[in-house]
Symmetry: none
Subunit: 285 residues, 2 copies
Amino acid sequence: MNVLEKIVNSVNSFSKSERKVADVILANPQTTIHSSIAALAKMADVSEPTVNRFCRRLDTKGFPDFKLHLAQSLANGTPYVNRHVEEEDGPEAYTAKIFESTMAALDTARQRVDINAINRAVDVLTQAKKISFFGLGASASVAHDAQNKFFRFNVPVVCFDDIVMQRMSAINSAEGDVVVCISHTGRTKNLCDIAAIARENDATVIGITAYDSPLAKECTLVLSLDVPEDTDMYMPMASRVAQLVLIDILATGFTLRRGSKFRENLKKVKDSLRGSRFDKKDFNN
Amino acid sequence: MNVLEKIVNSVNSFSKSERKVADVILANPQTTIHSSIAALAKMADVSEPTVNRFCRRLDTKGFPDFKLHLAQSLANGTPYVNRHVEEEDGPEAYTAKIFESTMAALDTARQRVDINAINRAVDVLTQAKKISFFGLGASASVAHDAQNKFFRFNVPVVCFDDIVMQRMSAINSAEGDVVVCISHTGRTKNLCDIAAIARENDATVIGITAYDSPLAKECTLVLSLDVPEDTDMYMPMASRVAQLVLIDILATGFTLRRGSKFRENLKKVKDSLRGSRFDKKDFNN
DNA sequence: CGCAATCTGTAATTTAATTACAAGATATCC
DNA sequence: GGATATCTTGTAATTAAATTACAGATTGCG
């Protein structure tokens, strides 16, 4: 695991002085790797052994080894750490933090995603007679987005963010239909019902949701995205971005599977939009 | 430039002993970063100062600094680059590429985003009597998402993805109202009209769109996201994720500006959802 | 062949990091 | 509420590492 993330994660297990060290390092990681233990100790206003103990607590052999790990973490150019927004953050701070948290979330999602499941989902989708996307609340916009994408593929697609419509649609589903249920927590009761109903009617149910959730249990195929997120106070952000990227991936897999002939269709859809838009050349350069 | 590449490139300008050092390092770079200068000197069968001179020749301050650079080179072969999906890509390939492209897009967005504009947008939004989010096509789902977020703030929010409704809503806007128009290209004619109408009716119009686009010209305040994207063949992906992150940032700025008392309200909204969900404890662990 | 320039290693010096230990703070138990 | 135990933290001593200065060796060139 990334050392920077590790620091953030274990900030609670630190002692007072160790936290001072952590703060200084997180504030200027780039400076840290070029500092001696003495300089860092001074910056954090603690003694040198404290810095050393801090390094050891992070499972490194000592300060030099810690710097090595830190250097590797910083190598990407940017430390994608899930830093939480604080009360007193200014615009620069919270903007940076949200970008970074989102990127960090995507990074973990990328590592944890089950490619086999994606591949099977693409299989199922390409063979679907009809595709339905269902989501509620924040996940509704993800469902809309999915509809917008798959709609271009010349496949029957529906999308409902209304429980009653979802229910009716689920009841009317039949073999060969694919229902995609989207929920970050996987604990939305109504959506679980929908999934169950759809499956009873022989539809294939794909869940974009948390592994091991009630919704997951109702699905034929689960695409889980374990994205760490602080939902205590604010609203789902990173998880929803990860869901969208997953939709992008499914859509891409879909077009690739359908072959090149099919992709001409996409161009056609794109061209049809031209009339509703101003010409590009008038405004670029 | 990457230190490893640098070593390879300048192998000709090395002296005999220095080349021995280079060979050892290139053969086991991973070991090198965990070795002392003495150990490395022994492996290369040269003296310690020779190793030191070698490091300096590579424009590093000395051996420890060299190890830092080496560590960074080893950390990540491929930073997040915008790699395009190819015809013959398998699931692993396109999944990785889409994740990376999205992250690369967020990275550039982060660097280019105008913090001042964000701050002013937050200003405007916190003082709004009513907030409207308008988007069409792919941007409609972004607008929905924005509505979902700002709705929790106990502010009058509307969101339309229907031109007629948007038009009516725009005509009815008044001073103190804020209209947010979302469009990646900024060339959607209908949305430009809406922006113009809203402004004629004294609303403040925020555009989440391309800088210098027709839509941007109609807006009071533009939040531009120049995200490189390959829209030739497929559909907007990265740009829409960037838009969502921007919405997240605005929402976060909003809550922070409103102060802590206000955030209790968010908890209330969250708690109200509890009834519609299965209990968490039943399914974790 | 001999001088000059460059390279390389040894030993001394400096700097940095680590360890051992003691004082102080904090929690816990009667 | 006081005494004991545990955990933190810092000072000083020790050790290890890196760097520098210098001298011997090697190579190139006239």
